[in-house]
Symmetry: C2
Subunit: 299 residues, 2 copies
């Protein structure tokens, strides 16, 4: 790919996903009857100009296995709702206490704390309703998708990772502990998106495992890049407050090993991700680029 080509593809995808989410959060029957105030807060939390990396991954993985593109996108939207809810709750005063996300006030700032808690709850609930309603996908596959999401987004995955991260303030952590936390907090949902792309397309168990592993590498790379941005980045470029981990007394791998060593580690994660894609050759080009992209991102 030419320089900038992947960024352009991802941007076009983000714009399409944003439009679909906008449509969905104004007219879908799963939200019919939602009080306006709540719906506005949910929309504020979701329609935030995000990179939409997770839906992108679901759709690109689904392409490898000739999955139904529309079904893959619906699953992608559900996973993006989960990602969005996690950000809404993460930004709360009791958690990361962030006022700004992507240059806009966070949901509890634009509305209030109670509304932000409830909007997050509603988005999480909606995500399961969306996957249940993907009617081009057999019921048994939908059940597998829901089981996968419940594990990866819940107590043994993303939510568990957030608890581990929260408990880390002011404590020395081992590299193993930090990596486990990162694999859960960020890796689980990204890897869920990749595995879901395989699952929704009826891929074999082997291929599902490959996609899960690809996603795990991408997820950890994403989090390491985040640590580098937090430690060395410029808030105006990153689009959110930096040095937060340090301020909260949280030890990161960036602090332990320094930028250079982390960049080596990122390169190894990208190689690992590429290895999982080898059987698919050229057809997996965009996924290879995605792994590279998350590891060198500037925001």
């Amino acid at each position: 790919m030419k320089p900038g080509e992947f960024e352009a593809i991802l941007k076009a995808n983000a714009s399409a996903v944003g439009d679909l989410l906008d449509d969905f959060l104004s007219s879908n029957q799963l939200i019919a009857g939602t009080p306006h105030h709540l719906l506005n807060a949910m929309r504020h939390g979701v329609l935030n100009g995000g990179k939409r990396l997770r839906p992108f991954l679901v759709c690109e993985v689904a392409k490898l296995f000739d999955g139904n593109p529309k079904a893959a996108m619906q699953v992608g939207l559900a996973i993006e709702c989960i990602h969005s809810y996690s950000l809404v709750h993460d930004d709360l005063p009791a958690m990361d206490d962030d006022d700004i996300r992507r240059g806009k006030p966070t949901v509890h700032k634009a509305f209030d704390e109670a509304t932000a808690i409830l909007a997050g709850d509603a988005l999480l609930t909606l995500a399961f309703g969306i996957v249940a309603s993907v009617d081009t996908v057999p019921h048994d596959i939908r059940i597998k998708l829901i089981t996968l999401m419940a594990k990866k987004a819940g107590a043994p995955g993303m939510v568990g990772g957030q608890v581990l991260d929260m408990q880390a303030s002011g404590k020395a952590r081992s590299e193993i502990e930090i990596t486990r936390m990162q694999a859960m907090k960020t890796g689980a949902l990204i890897s869920c998106a990749c595995e879901a792309g395989a699952l929704v397309s009826g891929a074999s168990d082997d291929d599902r495992t490959r996609m899960r592993r690809y996603g795990e590498n991408v997820g950890i790379a994403f989090q390491l890049a985040d640590d580098i941005l937090d430690e060395y980045g410029d808030a105006s470029v990153v689009g959110k407050a930096t040095r937060k981990d340090r301020d909260q007394g949280k030890q990161t791998l960036a602090q332990i090993y320094g930028k250079r060593a982390l960049e080596d580690r990122l390169a190894a994660l990208v190689s690992g991700a590429e290895e999982m894609l080898e059987p698919f050759g050229e057809r997996a080009e965009r996924l290879v680029e995605a792994a590279r992209f998350v590891s060198i991102r500037k925001s």
Copy 2:
């Protein structure tokens, strides 16, 4: 039934449900790998000595249609996890700010706010995983159950009702607005439990509708009884703070109409619930008693 018989049945059921939840929240594979701190907070939120009315309703309705008792109970446990998560979030300082529930410190008091938010999130997520894993029930029925739960617990149901309730502080509300809020906030999940009991047992659409309507009446009766307890009850008997609505400037039907008129209304709701059960005669005795019980409860 003899006086006290229904209470004894409900109590025995609550004890059995509590034991099952305790087992489930220590060894189920859906939570394998959950950090201890998070699991402890989830357990604190769920194992609280509740009445377990929702699992009771799922199981009793399922009996009417010769449903698999174990499958019905699993669905009941999932709905109880949703009920518990809603209490954990409802008790938060940004919401109702309650320190005590059933004589024990609330989750954010026993742990902290961030942990309470995340424990609630994890319980909600778990609920969908539990229903997806009820393997004695056909996949299409499981999908219908998940769709039902997503609507009734989410933005157009329970969460939406909480938002409407929250917005009510200091405002005059019409009877229609209050009733709509109550139907969503409390009625939706109770009615979901009743409809789920029919659904999990393969009942006809007509019977599903009957059970939903029965549940709607029971749900609104439950909430009205709550309003009466809040307005006229004694905190030491009720087991939580009373006069909260009044303190928060929330108008309730108890305030508008007084105790007597509300008791008439409760009687009408119970009659409506009984009417839905007529075709089942003696077999629905416990459900008839349940409707009476919620309308005259003391705590």
